[in-house]
Symmetry: C2
Subunit: 241 residues, 2 copies
């Protein structure tokens, strides 16, 4: 059964929510039957690639709140992250465009390294000093540390169209599913969890989705053996009664 | 609602089945709400790229049937194709490895040209004289005629790893869904249609899947307004009652 997680690297609740979901998944009895796929959602898609801002002034300006209020929000996030065993720098974090990271996450998906890469990006953005924004060499270093081939990473970064359509398609799909914020979890395309809910909510969602998950119902004419189909053993014409 | 079609270019029933499905889709009242995605399934994945064989001798050898029996099968396929308005060469068609075509179909998916490309490949393989096998220039020509950029097509053909994992992932997923032959249609991940069924069966499957299609059920704690999530308007902390 598939769980899709729409998120953004620049979204602190996505960082925290992923850990809460994983805590639920760890104790879920059917966890080996769960495939997790990360999908793209940009919080700030209109921001230029070279428009990088420290988080606190960005927040005070964007929402007309005081620096102390913005800082309090960061402290709260830091505490929530710590409760999940995650490091979180509550000072001097940057905000920027995440499009290139999303494109790399789709390369990583093809290479079976998507979860490693998103975790690496989260950690770098929320816990490490060196900014992930406006620094392609930093992205190369992080992607290689997550197991990607350097030449492939450089190729994707050098070609702004690589995986761009897939990122956009993910974003369209999020809108179609009714997500207007992230993290947004979709279980078996049937159940949704919006936000960094407590682990118990994820456990409940996993249980409900698993219980209602069923194999495909085949639609076919009555009294038919087989179908006009081709398989490894050739192309068959069915016998109809 | 999404309809996924697993198929192979070398599969004549896929060519015919696609047309039957499309006939059903044309008259389906909610057709504008249906997204069709083509997925990869190789009938003969072990065949070397340069191992190209005329279809009739391949069939007689593989299944121990006579040339007349093999030819009768082709005539039947030709008649079924004609009934759908499709051209079909019942003589001198080749059989070969389709991996590169599947890789190109995934490029085409990213570029919004997948349906055009699969139809172009089918037509070339089943109705046109020049073989689609063992001839990269032929694939370039076909892909460009379906609206892809020549340099991108050449890049994918030159790099055997491009989209290779996506093809394999599609094939694994087909096995997980219980498909052992193609065409295999999956509607909303809930209903399946195996083989080139009559258009009425597709109509019935579309109706059933559409009727049971429902928006995501949100799982959330009682008495919660909102969630710990980030959206275009910032990162919120929910108000709990």
């Amino acid at each position: 059964m598939r769980v899709e997680i729409w998120s953004d690297i620049a979204c602190p609740w996505c960082y925290v929510g992923k850990a809460r979901f994983e805590r639920a998944l760890e104790t879920f009895p059917h966890r080996d039957g769960i495939e997790v796929v990360h999908r793209s959602f940009e919080l700030d898609p209109g921001r230029a690639k070279d428009d990088i801002q420290p988080v606190i002034p960005m927040l005070t300006k964007k929402y007309g709140i005081s620096e102390a209020q913005a800082q309090a929000g960061e402290e709260n996030l830091g505490a929530q992250a710590a409760a999940e065993g995650l490091d979180y720098r509550t000072h001097d974090r940057d905000h920027g465009n995440t499009f290139d990271m999303h494109r790399l996450l789709h390369l990583a998906k093809e290479r079976g390294r998507q979860d490693e890469l998103i975790q690496t990006f989260y950690r770098a953005n929320f816990a490490e000093e060196r900014s992930v924004f406006g620094d392609d060499e930093r992205l190369v270093e992080l992607a290689v540390s997550a197991g990607l081939a350097e030449d492939e990473v450089r190729e994707v970064l050098a070609d702004p169209s690589a995986y761009a359509d897939v990122v956009r398609a993910d974003e369209r799909e999020a809108a179609e599913l009714g997500a207007n914020g992230v993290p947004f979890f979709v279980l078996d395309r049937k159940y949704g969890v919006s936000g960094a809910q407590p682990a118990e909510v994820f456990t409940q969602a996993l249980e409900q989705a698993w219980a209602s998950h069923s194999p495909l119902k085949l639609v076919q004419p009555a009294g038919q053996d087989g179908a006009e189909a081709c398989g490894p053993d050739g192309c068959a014409v069915p016998h109809r009664h």
